[in-house]
Amino acid sequence: MGYTLNFAAVWRSFDQLLEGLALSLGLAFISILIGAVIGLLVAFALISKSGWVQRPAATYVTIIRNLPILVLVLFAYFALPQMGVRLGKIESFVAVLSIYSGAYLAEVFRAGLISIPKGLTEAGLAIGLTPMQIRVSIIVPLMLRNVLPSLSSTVISLFKDTSLAAAIAVPELTFEARKINVETFRVIETWIVASGLYVATCSVLAALMRVAERRLAVPR
């Protein structure tokens, strides 16, 4: 193989890649935030004793988890406008990733919720707290501590899913890399650098989650 690596062309476009990465992070951040709110509500619905609350939540989680996210992305961007719902590229992707992360986070949160001893709720009730006050002050803070380790891998995996936005030409990291690939023909170099950026970002995310885990750990 007579190929010599030459990164010069990729470095010249490095700013473009960084802008793409910034957008990737932005997409992930907003979607995970919305997804966390959806996930929290759905998780409480999943553990509800009422079938009218539990069943729709379970159906939502099942459907979303059995669909490839790329299909969802393409559906939202190409099929929805035909049905009269017209969203911009970014809005449509954020909506999809939010709904998608909502289903995954709901499962993570549900597991965290059921591991909290019933006695804590009773102790809260006994001092006169309302069920909502108990959720806010006791259940959710403990649940989040419980799930931080598994939350880390879900968050990283959701961040990586932003690369699918390239399929509808959202200028995030993968899309920018493809553009540089086409413009410079430095195929190997481009994808090595893009991969490096993904790995580095995910490592930083994982480290941040570990710090959060340590700082929030219940002392014993």
């Binding site: 001893p117 006695g119 804590l120 009773e122 102790a123 809260g124 009730l125 006994a126 001092i127 006169g128 707290l129 309302t130 069920p131 006050q133 002050s137 006791i138 803070p141 403990l142 501590r145 219940v218 002392p219 014993r220």
Partner: protein, 256 residues
Amino acid sequence: MSKVLLEIQGLRKQYGTVEVLKGVDCIMREGEVISIIGSSGSGKTTMLRCINMLEEFQGGHIRLEGEEIGYEHSGSSRKRKSEKDIARQRALTGMAFQQFNLFPHMTAAHNVMLGLVKVKKMSRDEARAVAEKWLDRVGLASRADHYPGQLSGGQQQRVAIARAIAMSPRLMLFDEVTSALDPELVGEVLQVIKGLAADGMSMLLVTHEMRFAYEVSSRVIFMNQGVICEEGDPKEMFVRPKTERLAEFLKTSSFN
């Protein structure tokens, strides 16, 4: 005689088809310390938990200072009170549990403060002062900023009692508070309860500590198969039980 604090009338409770309380009647006056004894499955814990609506019940009335607990009655129909009403009524009683149930992500002081801030609407400073006062009362002033996981079982239970008592309840409920403790830690918790009794706190205790029930109670209730089988002054009851059942129970219990 002091005035009536708690009135239980024909209390019935069932899980599915199993009846656990088959019509319990009981009147408790202010300042009384009543121990409820009986073998497991006799319904004593269930009765305690009905008083603060941790258990729903299907029949009868519970009144605290004349106020109907848990349900509204109109004619022959009854309806559970609103969640808000029930929360307010629960704050009138304090409860300590077998498993302590401290909030593990909060320090001892914060455990005590939570209800003061959220239910009593105190400022954090006021609540902190009240929490410190009660933690001091249970001998844990120096542990205020420790987390439950950093405390021994006996210390945790004392914090849990401080948490309940800080809400200034009209009535304290103790549900087998020493059953989960190592034997050498039981004494410190019983000491705290004795102190509260000396202060005139009205208390209902479900307990297996017969010696303690004998010493601290103004009255003892012996439950058997969902009804009150015998009740009276412990000095009398423990020495000369009137029913065969109680005699049997005392023989197999730790009291002798």
